[in-house]
Amino acid sequence: MESRNPLLAVDNLSLEFRTRTGVVKALENVSFEIEKGQTVGVVGESGSGKSVMSYAIMGISDPAARITSGRIVFGGISLFEKSGQELQEMRGREISMIFQSPRTALNPIRTIGSQLEDVIYRHSSFRGRQIRGRALDLLNQVHIPDPEKRYHAYPFELSGGMCQRVMIAIAISSNPWLLIADEPVTGLDVTTQAAIMDLIKDAARERNMGTILITHDLGLAAEYCDRIIVMHSGHVVEVADTEHLFMRPRHPYTAKLIGATPNASRDLAELSSIPGNLPDLRAELPACRYSERCEHLKEDCLEPPLPRLETEAGHLVACRYPL
Amino acid sequence: MSAHLRHLRYVMGENPVTLFSFVLFFLLLALGLFGPWLAPYDPLASDTANALKPPSWAHPFGTDNLGRDVFSRVITATRLDLAISVAAVSLSFVAGSVAGVCAGYFGGVTDKLISRLTDTIMAFPLFVLAMGIVSALGNTIENIVYTTAVINFPFYARVARAEANSRREAGFVEAARLSGNGHGRILLFHMGPNIMPPMMVQISLNMGYAILNAAGLSFIGLGVRPPTPEWGIMVAEGAKFIVSGEWWLAIFPGAALMLAVLCFNLLGDGLRDLIDPRMRT
């Protein structure tokens, strides 16, 4: 923790959705930081708020979403103080994002070359034939074979892995400072997964780019991330350096998650699944949203406030009775 | 069942428009059933001394060029208009269901033939085809009914085919087949009830179109003949007087027609929400 000037600081962020059936408290007091060049994993089950949080950082939340408290500070400037225009220009230039299911994440009736050109045109001073040159250069960088030919291909003509490479090319086209990768390899086959992850890692290293890797796959996070944020039901329950987290998980949920991940060194029979479901976020909830599923529940766990203990330097846990 | 009723009440409460359409529906039903007794005047009795009188207390919708009470004529016409469209829709419902279910269940040649037939009907602008069929069959009310049934047939056949097709391999059909039921029994007792909900939606969505279509045909002078009170023909007769300002002759029967169609369209949307909340737009 030598630098006190993080690339991105999410500070006490709360966000809710207004729906016809009630207010969904999707994020509550979410805080964490990312340094330049650091790769941070955000793990948790689906519905834990990982994607909602990344959309909030990008400023592309659903119109029904409302941020009720907190700040997001990027490069020392609060994003909520920026105008819509400024945010738009920042997206894709300073912060980029890639998504799950790359084949549907690309415009089906536009060639990949044109889609890449759209973004280059938007964020660079390249014009005319330079744009095409830059686009081909990017396709080369993400190792797309025969980019001249692929340039005129439509997304449906490429494999999922190829489309994800195109997505990465689009995302890194302006050498952003931060890349958010939302389940980038889910649904791809294993060899492609490794290739895509290596591509993201190399791209990040070359540019000293901060990376947020959103995944439900703890193994993937362990392999590629410097730090890991564990989320559950809109709360950040634990933040720690990867090694620390795996050596000594302090939150019961993290421990369960690690237990639920198949590991070569452990017998599959020991694999424990996590009992219960995510709570209904429309209801009145106890301070600790994991309490309902927790095996170590004590009476005062339900009382606010939800604690945030620093058990050792850089290891934060939102539990009154850490393991 | 009570869950259905509760859901119904919920949909009604959520959606006053559906409630409105239900009220309108029962009003139409009442007029269709009791119209002749509710009408204050004889719809056919002319009174030339009182011709072309604008709406007044005695004649809420005014009188026409022969002095007939437009209000009474509009009310009396409800039965005929509804009868034509109900008859036509029933015919296309029955024929379409049978054809569609057979196509979806048996597949193969049956499916090819029936699909080719529906495609061919749909290849025509439907109202134009209706005109052609009426001209070939002859200009009578029954033929208006048959014609309207023919042009609506594809809608039912297509829905029934899709529903039956998706259930062909379903467990309950397989079970019925294995326990020795013939095709006829399976189609009638196992497929039939299961395709009913989407077919009901189709009926109420289609009813408005059937009414419009039948009224359109009588507007151009087919089927119903004067002096029979019928909305389409009343609008046609009243059209001559619009340019001289006697608007009530055409506007009231036209408005009745519009409300009837509106009622069924809203009912169809409501019913669709009720049966399949996912299809809401």
């Binding site: 592309i60 690309l106 089906p108 | 290849a123 602008p125 134009v128 070939a136 619009i242 340019v243 300002g245």
Partner: protein
């Protein structure tokens, strides 16, 4: 790529063949389904056995059905749709002279509907639950429930009788004007070619009410589909990507969302055109428009069956042509289309 497109277009054309055949068979059946003996009907009340038999032979009715069908096909190929008994002219000629009037009106109505429905649908989709959204829903609900002939009469009452803004609903051009020289048959275009702005204005003022009537009718399904398609596309993954890439709102809306949303709208356009061809008949009657619709109504009342069947055939073929054009457009716009079929 280009060669593929041509191949696909060729395949579409081939796929249309059985549809056209179906249409011809149906119209053939309709011409033969006439109640009673057409020969007796044509011969008139004063005819004797001998003249009826002559007429039967001249009409080819003494031959077998397949033979008759063959003759029917040959006549069609020559553009011979028979003679209209009410006007004594070949049906083909009657339809050809009247078609431009109908086409001009229908296309104008469609154009108006598209010009209103698409912006309305887009605004409604981009501003859910706003005033525009509610307006759109209202227009959609009312629009599908309005009988065209009722709308037409209502507009005539308001704009001709009450406000006096429109000319009398009596055809394409009031009698004080002379129709422009025939080039396209569309008065609006021909008058411009002739450089006669006076006639152009007159033709336009006659056109506005009937075209609006058709437009109100066609508006509803188009607005409904535009709204639904836009809503779907705006929540799609690729629009999210475009937003996350910082593309300007304009690019996101027009290049990414709109172009994709127009694909289903294009399909709806075909269906709407089918409805319009029917509604056109009613509107022509209301506005005394001298198109093929009015011609068909007169023929229907006079039991002039060759004329009616010619009309049905012509309309159906026009509809097939339009659907073909839409399919081809689709093939050009949507690169995925080659995958299916």
């Amino acid at each position: 790529m280009k060669g593929d497109s041509l191949l696909l277009i060729g395949r579409r054309l081939l796929q249309a063949a059985p549809v056209v055949m179906g249409i011809i068979v149906v119209t053939f059946i309709l011409t033969r389904a006439l109640p009673g003996d057409p020969a007796v009907f044509f011969a008139g009340p004063a005819a004797d056995e001998k003249s009826i038999a002559e007429i039967r032979a001249s009409l080819g009715l003494d031959k077998s059905w397949p033979e008759q069908f063959w003759v029917y096909l040959q006549n069609l190929a020559r553009g011979d749709l028979g003679k209209s008994i009410s006007t004594g002219q070949p049906v083909m000629e009657e339809i050809a002279t009247r078609l431009p009037a109908s086409l001009e009106l229908t296309l104008m109505g469609l154009l108006l509907a598209v010009a209103i429905a698409i912006p309305l649908g887009i605004l409604a989709a981009t501003r859910p639950n706003s005033f525009v959204d509610h307006l759109c829903r209202l227009v959609v609900t009312i629009g599908v429930s309005l009988p065209t002939f009722f709308t037409g009469l209502f507009l005539v009452y308001i704009f001709y009788f009450l406000l006096g803004l429109s000319p009398a609903p009596l055809g394409r051009l009031s009698i004080i004007h002379i129709s422009p020289d025939h080039v396209t048959g569309f008065y609006l275009i021909d008058s411009l070619i002739a450089g006669d702005l006076e006639v152009f204005r007159a033709a336009l003022s006659q056109m506005i009410l009937p075209a609006s009537t058709l437009a109100i009718f066609a508006l509803a399904p188009l607005a409904r589909m535009t709204r639904a398609a836009m809503l779907g596309v705006l929540s799609s993954d690729y629009v999210r990507t475009a937003r996350a890439s910082g593309l300007s709102s304009r690019t996101v809306l027009w290049v990414y969302a709109f172009q994709n949303a127009m694909l289903p709208v294009l399909t709806t356009l075909g269906m709407v055109f089918s409805f319009l061809l029917g509604a056109n008949v009613l509107v022509e009657k209301v506005f005394a428009w001298p198109g093929i619709g009015s011609f068909a109504i007169e023929a229907l009342i006079a039991s002039d069956y060759a004329a009616v069947q010619g009309f049905v055939l012509a309309m159906a073929l026009m509809y097939v042509l339009l659907n073909l054009a839409i399919d081809i457009l689709y093939t050009v716009v949507d690169p995925r289309i080659g995958l299916e079929g």
